[in-house]
């Protein structure tokens, strides 16, 4: 018996050492020319099939042209992305875990009144991949053909019901847009996901929805206004806020999707990853894919991306405080 146990102990310790060796080679390689020695996990803040998940998968497919590295697209949806964010923060800062995030994550952090120093500053924002403007959508069969018609209708005493997912970034945009128009009444109703949001809009539960231009391709809806300084391909006839005589600043608020790593990740990895992102961003297939989905390709690196994140945090805190969604004592 003792012999059997001894054999087992030796075998398992040996196996674990061998396995572990394959698992944490990262620790030894740090700066200089960084090359991945094990699969890199891209952890999405949305479930499989969500927008960021879809784009991450396409990104990985194109990145394969430029690197032999293996990327694993993974998902940890829940609590508006907090689950994924926290998971990444709990991993080693060895460069083998990348966080794929959108403003929704930051909104969830603030909504839950968590410490920004940990949950926002705990990341290094590596590469902002795309901008996705916000727009106001109505069903294709809607009586409203222009944004002005919708506003005039409300000014006659009608309530604009707006569907949006999860009191996230789109809710903030709804408050910023509709809150700035005098004489109208609106109510934003939160649905737990994009699918329920559009089921509600198409089923007539709400009059309009806050969405992205790409939604006009996916669902039977039309855009009344697109918050973007330039025209979005395929939606050239849709005006922006400036053209409607509203605050042009509304055209500069947009959704974004990008990659971050845990603060403290080796600089070599970040450089390697940003170079790869540059290559993908310049790839014609990526550009075509982004254009088809009415997205703008971005190449923002750490400095510009961090600034975007900071703006998002500040404006979200401001808006959520204004509607009494978070405590007035909450600070960045």
């Amino acid at each position: 018996m003792k012999k059997a146990l001894l054999i087992l102990a030796v075998l398992i310790v040996a196996m674990t050492t061998v396995f572990a060796n394959g698992g944490s080679e990262a620790a030894s390689s740090a700066a200089a020319a960084w090359e991945p020695k094990q699969p890199i996990t891209i952890m999405n803040h949305v479930a499989v099939g969500g927008a960021m998940d879809l784009y991450s998968r396409k990104w990985v497919e194109i990145a394969a042209k430029y690197t032999p590295a293996t990327f694993v697209v993974d998902n940890n949806a829940g609590a508006g992305g907090l689950t994924a964010g926290e998971w990444v923060l709990n991993q080693e800062a060895d460069g083998y875990t990348v966080f794929a995030l959108a403003p929704t994550y930051l909104d969830a952090v603030i909504q839950a009144e968590l410490d920004c120093k940990e949950y926002v500053d705990g990341f290094q924002y590596v590469y902002n991949l795309m901008a996705d403007p916000y727009c106001v959508l109505v069903p294709s069969s809607s009586q409203f053909n222009t944004f002005q018609e919708l506003i005039d209708w409300s000014k006659k005493g009608n309530l604009i019901t707006l569907s949006e997912p999860n009191y996230g970034a789109k809710y903030i945009d709804a408050v910023q847009v509709f809150g700035s128009i005098p004489g109208i009444t609106y109510k934003a109703i939160s649905y737990e996901s994009a699918k329920n949001n559009f089921a509600a809009l198409l089923g007539g539960q709400t009059v309009a929805s806050v969405g992205n231009p790409g939604d006009t391709k996916k669902y039977d809806v039309k855009a009344l206004v697109v918050g973007n300084p330039t025209k979005v391909p395929g939606l050239e006839n849709v005006p922006n806020y400036k053209e409607l005589g509203m605050d042009p600043a509304l055209d500069n608020i947009s959704m974004w999707r990008g990659y971050a790593v845990k603060a403290g990740t080796p600089a070599g990895m970040i450089k390697w990853f940003q170079d790869l992102c540059d290559k993908v961003a310049a790839d014609q297939e990526w550009i075509d894919y982004m254009t088809q989905n009415k997205l703008t390709v971005l190449t923002d690196k750490t400095e510009a991306f961090t600034k975007t994140v900071e703006n998002e945090v500040v404006s979200t805190i401001e808006v959520l405080k204004s509607v009494d969604q978070i405590s007035s004592d909450y600070k960045r």
């Binding site: 018996m1 012999k3 398992i12 196996m15 674990t16 396995f19 572990a20 620790a27 509607v323 009494d324």
Partner: protein, 192 residues
């Protein structure tokens, strides 16, 4: 009430667990006093355990934030927990009388419960060990110990089962599905 709720919210969950244990032990002896409750006292304890959580949640609702939006909607984050708590209170009264009814089956005797509990605690211990000695070694030890404790004496099986399990998890989960199982700080340190 709001102040008490606030105090309760800030209380560490260890205190809440300690309170739970204290209440359960107290009730165990209390139910032992009357013959009608004595024969079903663990069934009653299960019920009271759920009621403890219910009461705790109910008290905590007083410190839940009610935003303007929620107030306008007419249903706040407090509404549903309170509704379930109320229904739970009513259902518990019904269940209490159903349990102490002499026609109800008395508590099943505890068999080798210490053994089962030890396996349960052992699994918790093995999970805690993941971060130190890694998933593979920890789970292999766990499987081996439980097999021995259950009376398995076949040496070949005692060696093969943990090894096959480790190989299966390594190749299927780590290699094929890319699920990183913890390797443990001990081994990372050895390699460093």
């Amino acid at each position: 009430m709001a102040n008490f709720s606030k105090w309760l919210t800030n209380l560490s969950y260890w205190w809440i667990l300690a309170g739970f244990l204290a209440v359960m032990i107290g009730l165990y002896f209390l139910f032992g006093i009357w013959p009608r409750t004595k024969r079903v006292r663990v069934q009653l304890l299960c019920l009271c355990g759920m009621d403890y959580v219910t009461l705790l949640f109910y008290l905590l609702t007083f410190n839940l934030r009610v935003s303007k939006l929620a107030a306008e909607a007419g249903a706040t984050p407090r509404t549903m927990p309170r509704l379930w708590a109320l229904l739970m209170a009513l259902a518990s009264i019904g269940a209490f009388f159903a349990i102490i009814n002499p026609e109800n089956k008395p508590d099943e005797k505890f068999n080798r419960w210490v053994f089962a509990l030890l396996v349960g605690v052992g699994s918790i211990f093995s999970v805690i060990l993941f971060q130190y000695i890694g998933y593979y070694l920890s789970s292999a030890i766990f499987i081996l110990v439980v097999m021995i404790a259950m009376g398995e004496r076949n040496k070949l099986q005692l060696i093969l089962v943990p090894i096959i399990w480790c190989l299966f998890t390594y190749f299927v989960f780590y290699k094929m599905l890319f699920i990183k199982l913890p390797f443990g700080s001990l081994f990372s340190w050895l390699i460093k």
